[in-house]
């Protein structure tokens, strides 16, 4: 059922078994798992079913580090969250993404790929993806023109992606949520504070507010924060009446280790047989491939994980870095400006050769997407500025380290060596990679709108905010869903994995609530 929190009597008290804060991919995936269960689920959304400027404005904040998208427009604040503007690219993480790597400080998850593997096919359904198949051989059987480049898998391997329509959760799952008798969706219910028990070992209630001036209290046995990496951290840090550093922040970790995927053009690929790249073409099929650095090479050269995609060069040459074209605070204007930029490029003739079939292109821009090493100084902090509901705003310092740059250079160089060895082409390196001594990532390096980290998962509270079940260390009934829990980012877009991890959390909560009920 749906309740507009603006219409409730002021200072209402809402009670349930589970309170889920946020209705993006994580929050709604969690809620859907509880439909028709005997438990009363309180689902809180700060906005409504449509875009609301005043609500969106609550996400405003400052960018203090490496240039980044405006805080206000990089996430959507209404039912469905940022699935309202996501691109839909999905793939699975690799085994190496979960292990402790000696050359990547603060790497290593307390779980392994196999611990979430069973949840990936379930996440596929939520995201309207195809069969749970990421082996290139499977896709070759479906489409004969899908031929991997003749490179050495132990150096660069062909990694498959699948494209979601992309599923807009707010549209697709609205009826399922609103019609569920045990799901109580409250819109215009912005959580502004979390109150713990006296000894801060459990959460007692949360306070919600809206622009109508109403304030309510929500009590539940379990609380799941699913507001995205930046807002989760903000809310924990701002809930500091009982714990001055913020909830779950006894070790000064909340907000730290913010990660993105570093996305940037790293050069050009020139090939003598362009038809061999059809498998790697973007946007035409619901599947596509990229090249990824093998585990062996990551270990040998002490690199992060990274992938590289190919964009026809005449298009790549007119593509401005996303961080420059997505620069408006208002997410609608940001999209408009982005669209106009391409329209202008078209008018100027940038796409004059686009009539050629992909197979006829000989040159491609290298679009590299790299994991970012966990960095405690890359972080979300509280601003001195307060939003309209009285909560300190979040500021973001996105900061990279030398291994990030090293990886961008290495994948480009490995590709150059591999296509040279295979006799299929040559690679031209981007200017910013030429100086090996330069460890800085240039300002045009953009992110993928992927917010990762800030409440990282770890076995101990000294090194992470949540445990392997996404429970906040030291607080028995507070959980975090989403990519905020990722200790490392892997090289792939996080949505599929964050939904899978959320489903795993849901399974865990079901076991726990059942066990407690029986006890």
């Amino acid at each position: 059922m749906h309740i507009d929190a603006r219409l409730l009597d002021d200072r209402s008290v809402i009670e349930g078994d589970i309170c889920i804060i946020g209705t993006g991919a994580a929050g709604l995936s969690m809620a859907l798992e509880w439909v028709d269960t005997p438990y009363k689920v309180i689902l809180l959304e700060g906005g409504g079913f449509e875009y609301d400027e005043k609500v969106q404005e609550l996400y405003n904040g400052k960018i203090l580090g490496h240039p980044y998208y405006p805080m206000k427009s990089s996430r959507l604040h209404y039912f469905g969250g940022s699935t309202g503007h996501w691109g839909g690219m999905c793939s699975t993480m690799d085994e190496i993404d979960f292990v402790k790597r000696d050359w990547v400080e603060n790497s290593g998850w307390p779980i392994r790929l196999e611990d979430i593997a069973a949840c990936y096919p379930r996440a596929h359904k939520n995201l309207d993806l195809g069969p749970y198949e990421y082996d290139v051989k499977y896709w070759q059987k479906q489409e004969q023109s899908f031929v991997p480049m003749p490179l050495e898998d132990e150096i660069l391997w062909t990694k498959m992606w699948q494209l979601s329509p992309p599923t807009r959760f707010g549209t697709k799952y609205k009826d399922a949520v609103v019609n569920a008798k045990n799901i109580h969706l409250y819109t215009y219910a912005n959580v502004v504070d979390i109150q713990a028990t006296e000894n801060i070992s459990a959460i007692k209630e949360v306070t919600v507010k809206n622009h109508a001036g109403k304030q309510h209290t929500v009590r539940a046995r379990y609380f799941v924060m699913a507001c995205c990496s930046i807002q989760n951290a903000r809310l924990l840090l701002a809930s500091n009446k009982q714990a001055p550093a913020g909830l779950g922040n006894g070790n000064d970790l909340v907000g730290r280790y913010f990660m993105e995927h570093i996305e940037i053009g790293t050069g050009e690929l020139w090939v003598n047989k362009p038809e061999s790249l059809v498998l790697y073409r973007r946007t035409v099929h619901k599947q596509q491939a990229e090249l990824a650095i093998s585990r062996q090479k990551q270990e040998e050269l002490k690199l992060l994980n990274a992938t590289v995609a190919f964009v026809p060069l005449d298009i790549a040459k007119v593509m401005e870095p996303s961080v420059k074209t997505w620069s408006e605070d208002d997410p609608r204007k940001a999209l408009d400006k982005w669209s106009k930029y391409y329209q202008n490029a078209y008018k100027k003739g940038a796409f004059r050769h686009v009539s050629l079939p992909f197979q006829k292109y000989q040159a491609f821009g290298l679009y590299t997407r790299s994991e970012q090493a966990p960095n405690p100084d890359s972080r979300v902090t509280l601003s001195k500025e307060i939003d309209a509901l009285g909560v300190p705003r979040a500021d973001l310092t996105w900061q990279m380290t030398p291994i990030d740059k090293k990886t961008l250079r290495a994948i480009t160089q490995l590709l150059g060596q591999q296509v040279g060895k295979a006799g299929i082409g040559r690679v031209k390196m981007a200017d910013f990679l030429l100086d090996e001594k330069d460890e800085t990532v240039p300002p045009e390096a953009s992110g993928g709108w992927h917010h990762i980290g800030t409440t990282r998962m770890s076995d101990t509270p000294k090194t992470g905010v949540v445990d392997k079940n996404c429970k906040v260390h030291g607080i028995e009934n507070l959980f975090i869903a989403g990519s905020a829990c990722f200790p490392t980012s892997g090289a792939i877009n996080p949505t599929l994995t964050l939904v899978a991890l959320t489903l795993r959390l849901s399974d865990h909560l079901k076991e726990q609530i059942k066990a407690n009920h029986q006890a």
Binding site: W270, D314, Y342, F351, S355, Y361, G420, K421, K428
Partner: protein, 131 residues
């Protein structure tokens, strides 16, 4: 309009209005024919002026090889450094191709004018720049 939707729409629009161009856009030049001064693969992608520029930069980077005879001798040397008899054109092309592949395999490459190329290709460009 969403990001990916827009790309697809823009692409479709462009497809509708643009006229077919030459095949292999980007490759509008013919390679020269002397194998010693013609890095076969690279010359498909770069015009002679660029190849010469690469060659000039190689000679600056490796002054010990800034001389026709030295470059010719090194180019005619086998993959293992042994001296070879001067082969015919086809044999020479085969020898150079083999060396180039071997250099990419052993990471005996160099970055010149942003191109990641084998040392043999760099020497071919260098010799071209001296002719």
């Amino acid at each position: 309009m969403k990001r990916r939707d827009f790309i697809m729409t823009a692409t479709a629009a462009a497809l509708a209005v643009a006229t077919a161009q030459v095949a292999f856009y980007g490759c509008s030049h013919k390679p020269t024919t002397d194998p010693l001064t013609t890095p076969r693969m690279l010359s498909r992608f770069c015009d002679p002026a660029v190849l010469r520029e690469i060659g000039v930069n190689y000679r600056k980077r490796v002054p010990a090889e800034d001389e026709k005879q030295a470059l010719t001798r090194l180019l005619l040397m086998g993959s293992s450094g042994e001296n070879t008899k001067t082969p015919d054109k086809a044999g020479l092309e085969e020898l150079l191709e083999k060396k180039i592949r071997a250099e990419f395999t052993s990471d005996n490459t160099i970055i010149l004018d942003r191109w990641i190329i084998s040392v043999t290709e760099a020497r071919q460009c260098a010799l071209l720049s001296l002719t």
